[in-house]
Symmetry: C3
C-alpha cells in the first residue's frame, strides 16, 4: 500500500526532478542554435535564449498559469495576476498540522506542478528563437515571447491540459507533440513568413546559399541535452509517481522516448542521401529531434515496436520538410519547423493509428491549434513589424548581430574567414 | 502516514540526487570561466577547476567535515582525520538487521549528507578560480584551495550550519548566500588584492583595457549549468523530503530560485545600458547569477513576489559592483566578487526584510564571516606570495599560462589574432 | 516499514533517474572525443557517437537484452527478438487492478531495468569510438557497434550479471570495471591492432608526432559530464532503493565514486611529469577517468580510504598505460584503452584485495572476458577489413573525415592553421 502522504511526496518529487531536467532543455536549444548560426550571430542567439527562458518564467508566473489551469471553462481559464501555494500549504508550513490533510488531498504540491508547467512554456518559446535566428531584432523577439508565453500558449493549454473543449472531445496529446511543439512551430512559421529569409539565402537563380553552422560539436551537444531532457519532458508528463501503475507507465514512457529518438536519427541519416543529397549529420540530428517530437503525443499508450515506427517516420518527415521549406524559400535556420511542427503533426495523428482513438479529433486538434496559434502569431509579428520593426537593417545583418547589437563577438580572438558575400 | 524507513529513503535520495546536481555546477563554473578568459589561458583554467573539485573533495573528507559538523562547540567542530558511515550502518550492511532502528533514527544515511556538504565546499572554491584567472600560479592556487576547503570554509560552516555561535544567535542563511557564496567571494577578494590586476588591464591614463572572452557560447553554457544545478543547491538544502511539508517547501524553493534568476537576468540586462554603457550580455548573465545568489539565503521563507524583487535587486547589485570594482582597479576576470559576494550580502540582509527576522544578526553574520574569511585568506595569499609566489612571471602572463605552464594551447589548430599588446 | 508497493516505486524510479544520467554519459564521451581529435575530424566523431547511441539502443531492444538476461543458462540467455513489459504490467495498465500483486512481486518495473541496462551497453560502445577516431570508416564502425551491442556485450553480461558461469563462481564486478569498461576496452584494442595508427603518428625515426586536440575546454566538459554521469552508473547499480540498507549502500557508493575520481586525477597529474615528461592536463583528466573506472568494480564494499587508494592507482595505471601504448606504437586517440581496459583490470583485481574475495576468480573473469571479447572483436574487425574495409583512404585521412565523408567542417568559418604534414 502507498499512503496518501507518500504518494504526495512521490508525485511532487517527480514534478521537481523531471521539471529540472526540462529546464535543462533550454540549454540544449541554446547550444543547438548557437552552434547552427553563423559565427557572427552566435552571441545574440545566446542572449535570446537566456532571455526567453527568463521572460517565459516570469510571464507564466504573472499571467499564464492562471489562464491555462485555473477555473478553465471551455476556452480559457482565469484572468488574474500571480499564482502561489494554496492557503492550506501556507498554513501547514506555518506550523498548522491540521492543514496537512487538505494539502495531501491535492495529490502534489501546488508549486511543483507550476514549476513543471513553466518549463514547458519555455520549451515552446525556444522553438521560435532558432527558426528566426540571425535577423530578428532582440527586443521584438522578447516582445513576441512575452505574448506567446503569457497568452497564446496558455490558451492552447487551457483547451487541452487545462480541461477545455479539445480535452472534452477526447483529444490525446500526452506530453505535447501539438500543444508544445506544434504551438512553438506554428509561432515560428508565422514569424518566418513575416520576417523573410536571411539576406542572400535564396539566390535569384533559384539556388540556395550555404550558411555554415559555426560549430558542429556545439550543435551535437545541444541535441544530446535535448534528448536527455526529453526523459523529463515525457517521463514527468505521467504527472504522478504515487502508484505501481504510474511507475510502470513512466518506465514505458522513457523507453518509448529513447526508441523514438534513436529510430528518428537512424532513419533520417539513412535517407538523408536520397532526400537531401548527402549523408547529412545535421539532417540526422534534426531527425532525432523529429523522432522525439513524434513519440511525444503517446509514449504512454503505444507499444514499443510502434515507437520505432513512429520515431523513424518522424525523422523522415523532418528531413523531407527541411527540403520542402527550402524549395518554398522559407528560411528556417535550425530546421525548427520541420522537427517540431511537421513531426509534431505526424506524432499527434500517429497516436490514434498506433493506439486507437479518434483520428478526426486528433486532426481537429492539430488544425484548431494551428489556426489559432498561426493567426495570432502572424498578427503579432505584423503588429511588431508595423511599429518597432522585426528585422535588423541590412547593414546589421551583414555585420552580424553580435557586433552590431551587442558590440561583441562570440569568439573575438579567433580569426574568422571573410564571408564571400554574394547577396 | 510516512514511516520512518520511507522517510529515511526519501531524505537520503534527496541528498544524493540534488548533491549530484550540485557537483555538476563545477562544470558550470569551468565553462563560465574557460569561456570568459582569453584564449591563451583557457586550458589552465580548466585544469584549475577539475583540480579544485578534486582537492576540495579529498580535503573535506580528510579534515573538513569533522571540523564543520562533528561535535561542534561554539566555534569549531572536531579536529580529527577521516569520516565515514556510522557503526550502525556498517553493522546493517554487514547483515545485522537489528542495527536498522538505530540507522533509521539518524533520519538519513551518514554519507549522503557528507556528499551533499562536500559539493558545497567545492562551489565555494570554484568562485575563487574565476576571479583570479589568467595570472595565479597553478600550484599556489591549489595550495590555497586546500586550506580554504579543509579549514576556512568548514570553520564558517561550524559557526552556522554546524550549530555554532552564529546559528545560536538566529542567523538565517538557508543555502548559503553568505556561508558559501560570501566565503568564496571574500577569499577571492583577498586574492585579488594580493595578486593584483592582469598586466595592462588598467592603463596609466585611467582607461580600462578590454579583455575579450574566448567564447560567449561557452560562457552561456556555464550559466545554464549553474542555473540548473542551483535547483539542487537550494532544493537539496531543505535537507529532507520525508514529510508533506518538506515536499511543499522544496517546491516553493525551486520556484523562488527560478524567479530569482530570471528577475536577476532581466533587471541586469535592462539596466546594463545605463550602468555599464551598453546592452551587455555578460552583465545580464552575471546578473542571473546575482539573482540566484541573492535568493539563496531564504527561498524557503520568502513569498514568490519577493523572489522577483530580491532577484532583480541582486542582478542590479551585481552589475553595479562590476562597475565599482573596475573603478577601484580591482580586476575580477569573471565578475565573481560582484555576483557572489555583493549579491550574497544583499540576499543575506534581504531575507530579514522580506520574511522577518533580526537584521542585526544578519549583518553580524555577514561582517563576522567576512572578517574571518578575508583576513585568513589575505594572510594565506601573502604567505604564499612570500614563499613560492602567487603570480606567474610577466613573460608567462604575456605568452599565456597554457603554453607557458602546460606546453599546450586550448585550441591549438585555430589561428588566433595577434594580441595588440599595449601594456 | 516499507511496503512492497513503495519499494517497487523507489526501485523503479532509481533505475529511471540514474539511467537517465548514464545516458548523459554518451554526451560526455562525445565531447571528450570531439575535443580530442584534430579539428578536421570533429564532426564525424560527433556523428559516430550519436549513431552508436542510437544503434546500441535499438540493438539491445531487438536482441541484446534477451541474450543477456532472459533465461540465462551458463553462457547465454534467450535468442529471440524484442523485449517488453510483462503480461501482468500490461494488464495492470489496462485497468486490471488484480494484476498489481504480480507486478509488485517483480520488485521493479520490467522496462525500468531494461532502460538502465541499455544505457550501459551504449557506454561500452562509446569506448570504442574514441580509441579509433580519425581513421575508421563511418559505416564499418556502425556495423561493428551493431554486433558489439547486440551480441558481444550481452554474452559477457549473461556470464556475469545475467547469472551465468562467472557469476556462479563468485566473480565480483559491481558496476562493470570489466563487464562494461573492459569489454569496451578489449573491443577497442582489437580495432586498434587491425586498423593501425593514424597516418604519420609514429615516425620512422621512432619519435611520436603530436596530434593536438581541437578543444581543451570541450574535453574538460566531457570529463565533467562523465564524472557526473558516473553517479548514475555506480549509484544505480545498487539496483534497488527500497530499503534502508540499500539507501545507505547507495550513499557509500556515490562517495567512493567521487573519492576514486578525485584521487585518480590528483595522482595522475602529480605523476604526469615523471611518467609523461610534463604536467599533463590530458593525462590528469584521463587519470580521473581511470580512477572512476577502477573504483567501479566494488564501490559498494570497499571502505572509503580504500577508494582513495584504488582511484589513485587507477589514475597512475592509466597514464603509465598511455606511455606504454605509445612505445608499442598503438595509436589510441583519447587514451580509451588505458583508462577503461588497464584501469578496469586493476579495479577488478583491487576489489578482492580491498574487500576480500577470491582474486583467482577475479583474474579468471578478467582473462576470460578479455579473451572472448578480444578474439571476437578481432575477427569482426578483420572480417570488415576484408569486405567493406575499415579504414578510410590516405586522401580522406589527410583531408579529414569531415570534409571527405560529410562534406562539411566542424568549425567552417574559422581559419585553421595549415597542418605541417610530415607523413
Amino acid at each position: 500500500m502507498v499512503s496518501d502522504e507518500v504518494r504526495f511526496i512521490f508525485n511532487t518529487f517527480s514534478f521537481l526532478i523531471w521539471g529540472g531536467l526540462v529546464m535543462w532543455m533550454a540549454a540544449g536549444f541554446t547550444m543547438l542554435e548557437s552552434g547552427s548560426v553563423r559565427t557572427k550571430n552566435a552571441s545574440v542567439i545566446c542572449l535570446k535564449n537566456v532571455g526567453l527562458y527568463s521572460v517565459a518564467g516570469i510571464a507564466f508566473y504573472l499571467i499564464g498559469y492562471n489562464l491555462m489551469y485555473v477555473d478553465v471553462g471551455s476556452v480559457i481559464g482565469s484572468v488574474r495576476f500571480l499564482y502561489g501555494p494554496s492557503a492550506d500549504e501556507i498554513a501547514l508550513l506555518g506550523g498548522n498540522a491540521e492543514a496537512e490533510a487538505a494539502v495531501v488531498a491535492n495529490g502534489y504540491s501546488v508549486m511543483s506542478d507550476w514549476f513543471f508547467q513553466m518549463v514547458f512554456v519555455a520549451t515552446a518559446a525556444s522553438i521560435v528563437s532558432g527558426a528566426l535566428a540571425e535577423r530578428v531584432k532582440l527586443w521584438s523577439f522578447f516582445a513576441f515571447t512575452l505574448v506567446l508565453t503569457a497568452v497564446i500558449y496558455p490558451v492552447v493549454g487551457a483547451w487541452t491540459w487545462g480541461g477545455g473543449w479539445l480535452s472534452q472531445l477526447g483529444f490525446q496529446d500526452f506530453a505535447g507533440s501539438t500543444i508544445v511543439h506544434g504551438t512553438g512551430g506554428w509561432a515560428a512559421l508565422a514569424g518566418l513568413l513575416v520576417v523573410g529569409p536571411r539576406r542572400g539565402k535564396f539566390r535569384k537563380d533559384g539556388t540556395v546559399r550555404a550558411t555554415p553552422p559555426s560549430s558542429i560539436p556545439t550543435v551535437t551537444l545541444g541535441v544530446f541535452i535535448l534528448w536527455f531532457g526529453w526523459f523529463g519532458f515525457n517521463g514527468g508528463s505521467v504527472l504522478a509517481l504515487g502508484s505501481v501503475a504510474e511507475a510502470v507507465s513512466m518506465s514505458n514512457v522513457l523507453v518509448n522516448t529513447n526508441l523514438g529518438g534513436a529510430a528518428g536519427f537512424i532513419a533520417a541519416l539513412a535517407l538523408s542521401r536520397p532526400i537531401l543529397g548527402r549523408v547529412d549529420l545535421l539532417g540526422g540530428l534534426n531527425g532525432a529531434l523529429g523522432g522525439l517530437v513524434a513519440i511525444t503525443a503517446g509514449p504512454d499508450i503505444v507499444q514499443h515496436p510502434w515507437a520505432l515506427v513512429i520515431g523513424a517516420i518522424g525523422g523522415i518527415v523532418c528531413i523531407a520538410a527541411m527540403r520542402l521549406l527550402e524549395q518554398l524559400r522559407v528560411d528556417d535556420v535550425v530546421g525548427a519547423v520541420p522537427a517540431h511542427l511537421f513531426a509534431g503533426v505526424w506524432g499527434t495523428l500517429a497516436v490514434s493509428i498506433a493506439a486507437g482513438g479518434n483520428i478526426g479529433v486528433q486532426l481537429l486538434g492539430v488544425v484548431s491549434v494551428g489556426a489559432f496559434v498561426f493567426v495570432l502569431s502572424w498578427l503579432l509579428w505584423m503588429g511588431l513589424e508595423k511599429t518597432v520593426g522585426v528585422r535588423v537593417s541590412d547593414r546589421v545583418e551583414q555585420l552580424g548581430q553580435d557586433v552590431a547589437e551587442l558590440g561583441m563577438e562570440a569568439y573575438p580572438e579567433f580569426v574568422i574567414m571573410p564571408e564571400d558575400d554574394e547577396a
